[in-house]
């Protein structure tokens, strides 16, 4: 049983215990890896376990809930998952995940995206940090945030800017508190639709073939099976990695017919960010809902209200908000337009 420790800017610390660390799991949090940390905020324990279901409320024969405790057993796409959480509503969270799952080819991907990521966000949120589904770049201590749904241009935008004299901060999620952006260096999520020519240059023949193959699977399965290719940003951008910048401009990206830019108000941005956060939080959105049903007065029951309150506070005065319509074909000319807009718009 191996123990690996991770820290996110010393704000949130966690550890993963497992007999097996598949490559994708290794890669995902590689940049957070550290030596021993004393007090971890959560533990992911991937091993066989027997849940303690005594005195639990049982919902739908699937969810077992009692004070500070949650267990569920269900199927997702190609796997069957057992997950147990102690400390859901308070204190250190101990998360047990059944290991049969990890042997499954897609399991490690699932565990990262749907379990570990959720707890990272939950613990950051508990400390007043907002976690925004966006990419971000910075220059001279000033940061630019690009929140959007998947497919609207987060990665492409960040990569273009990073290759144009800006510092890269992240392409998937960003951490914001009191107007300061902290980098979040998970691997770039590459798919056929966001392959920047600059990235393609770095990819070998095998990787490029894999991307085409995964795209085919995506289409054949009507979007059900989506497998990203991963690339460590530190390897790509070396010294051009930024951290702790003052957020100056927020540019909401959305896929539209034509390139367009428009000033919008803070409320629209907050609404967008919170909804996006909810959409990104499945399956936990449902788990929190069921926990709130049993314990309507718990911290978990007011989780989304708290997130809304925090994002409003963390977007401090003086930040400017815009919406950028990005066409399907996102090439260099589109990027130049956006960059000019970012640099010149008052």
């Amino acid at each position: 049983m191996t123990e690996k420790y991770y820290t996110i800017h010393n704000i949130v610390n966690f550890k993963i215990l497992s007999n097996d660390f598949p490559r994708r799991l290794e890669m995902e949090y590689e940049n957070f890896g550290c030596d021993y940390v004393d007090n971890v905020d959560f533990i992911i324990d991937i091993s066989n376990f027997s849940p303690n279901l005594a005195a639990c409320r049982v919902i739908d024969n699937t969810y077992y809930i009692k004070d500070d405790y949650f267990f569920c057993d269900y199927s997702y796409k190609f796997g069957r998952l057992k997950i147990e959480i102690n400390g859901l509503d308070s204190g250190q969270k101990i998360v047990r995940v059944s290991p049969n799952f990890i042997a499954n080819h897609f399991a490690d991907m699932f565990i990262c995206a749907h379990i570990i990521d959720f707890f990272i966000r939950l613990c950051l949120n508990e400390k007043g940090y907002s976690v925004i589904h966006s990419s971000s770049v910075g220059k001279d201590g000033v940061g630019y945030l690009f929140p959007s749904q998947s497919g609207a241009g987060k990665t492409t935008t960040a990569v273009y800017f990073a290759n144009s004299g800006y510092d890269y901060l992240g392409d998937d999620f960003m951490i914001l508190k009191d107007g300061i952006l902290h980098n979040y260096l998970t691997p770039l999520n590459l798919f056929s639709y966001n392959l920047n020519p600059l990235i393609l240059k770095e990819m070998g023949f095998y990787d490029r073939f894999l991307i085409k193959f995964k795209d085919l699977i995506f289409r054949l399965s009507s979007g059900y099976v989506k497998i990203f290719s991963k690339m460590n940003p530190v390897l790509l951008f070396n010294e051009n990695i930024g951290n702790k910048v003052h957020l100056k401009k927020v540019l909401l990206l959305s896929r539209q017919e034509e390139l367009s830019t428009m000033k919008i108000n803070k409320e629209a941005v907050v609404n967008n960010i919170i909804i996006n956060q909810k959409l990104e939080s499945f399956p936990f959105f449902k788990y929190l809902l069921e926990y709130s049903y049993v314990f309507p007065d718990s911290k978990i029951a007011s989780y989304w209200d708290q997130c809304l309150h925090d994002i409003d506070r963390n977007l401090v005065d003086g930040i400017e908000y815009f919406e950028v319509g990005v066409p399907k074909k996102y090439d260099e000319s589109v990027f130049h337009y956006i960059r000019d807009f970012v640099e010149n718009c008052p």
Partner: protein, 343 residues
């Protein structure tokens, strides 16, 4: 086929296949009269009109008052389009079930579930709350039995009918206004079949086969409740719990309102994609990215407060039933209810 809910809400369901089973679901509300429908559901193949829409996350097509997507889940695959989202919605749904047998005969029957959120919203605008729960009546007094799936809510309801001569006036939904219930049978023949042919609500394969045959033949001999409203003063919120003995405890209005709200809302949320109904909240969330002040978002914002007002003055109880069910629990619930009824 036209339907009318107590002349308050009218709707229409049309399908490519005029199967007998398709008419079973909402039989209670069938009407011959031609009324202006508050919403329409079209089942079966359709051509989507999604040009000019914004595409979100590669699959959701959104424009003003319009939503479209192709999706799939554990139950099957579908494409759904909602036009006139905020006024008189026109919904088109083409749903294919994974289970081949069910898909052959029942796919449109199952797809009709998708009107539930539109029923809920439409009735709310007319001053009613379509509560997710069951209700039974005895001697002109009713009781509401609410609970999450798997909470023994249906078992309790059936045992009240079997053992205490109650009559069921709602198996899955109940229409609530101040202190009054109106019957809202959603699958009367299913409820009655299970009630009469099984001792617990488990149907054997033979039961299911017989049920399927009856459905295909459109056979529904179930007795439907009268359409008149019934008074009620008590709501029991049931939970299944891994404990040794049953408990009944009073619960305050605030907690009860929250549980009743979540019990309705959670129908439209699932942890993994299943079918169009349990993806509904996700669709509205996506639509809200562009149109945040839409009808459903506004409804969910005010629903909990409205429920709290509706249940003011009622007696509210939380019942925890052990996972090892015993029919004597229903006897105790019945006694408890009866001792407080008529107040």
């Amino acid at each position: 086929m036209n339907y009318s809910i107590y002349n308050k809400l009218n709707f229409q369901i049309s399908s490519n296949y005029n199967r007998k089973v398709n008419h079973l679901r909402w039989r209670f509300f069938e009407t011959e009269e031609e009324k202006e429908p508050d919403f329409i559901l079209n089942l079966g193949r359709f051509r989507e009109e999604n040009n000019g829409s914004i595409v979100l996350s590669h699959k959701y097509h959104v424009k003003e008052n319009y939503f479209f997507c192709r999706d799939r889940g554990l139950d099957g695959q579908w494409k759904v389009e909602i036009k006139n989202m905020d006024s008189n919605p026109e919904i088109s749904l083409d749903f294919h079930l994974n289970n081949k047998l069910k898909n052959l005969f029942l796919k449109e029957y199952v797809a009709q579930d998708f009107i539930l959120p539109f029923l809920e919203l439409g009735l709310f605008k007319k001053g009613f709350f379509l509560l997710h729960g069951g209700a039974a009546k005895k001697d002109s007094q009713a009781v509401v039995i609410s609970g999450r799936p798997g909470s023994f809510k249906t078992t309790v309801l059936m045992d009240l009918v079997r053992r205490h001569r109650f009559r069921c006036i709602g198996d899955d939904r109940v229409l609530v206004s101040h202190g009054q219930l109106r019957p809202f049978p959603t699958s009367p023949f299913l409820f009655n079949y299970t009630l009469n042919k099984t001792e617990t609500e488990r149907r054997s394969s033979l039961n299911n086969f017989e049920l399927l045959c009856r459905m295909i033949g459109g056979i529904d001999s179930s007795e439907l409740p009268l359409k008149s409203p019934v008074d009620f003063h008590q709501i029991f919120i049931i939970s299944r719990m891994n404990v040794e003995d049953m408990t009944i405890e009073p619960i305050n209005e605030v907690e009860a309102a929250r549980k009743l709200f979540l019990n309705n809302f959670s129908e439209y949320v699932s942890s993994v994609p299943r079918g169009p109904l349990s993806s509904f909240h996700k669709y509205i969330l996506t639509y809200s990215l562009i149109y945040p002040n839409n009808a459903f978002t506004e409804y969910w914002k005010v629903l909990e407060k409205t429920i709290k007002k509706l249940i003011r003055g009622l007696s509210l109880f939380e019942v925890c039933i052990p996972s090892k069910y015993d029919p004597v629990y229903v006897d105790r619930i019945q006694n408890f209810w009866e001792s407080r009824a008529g107040n």
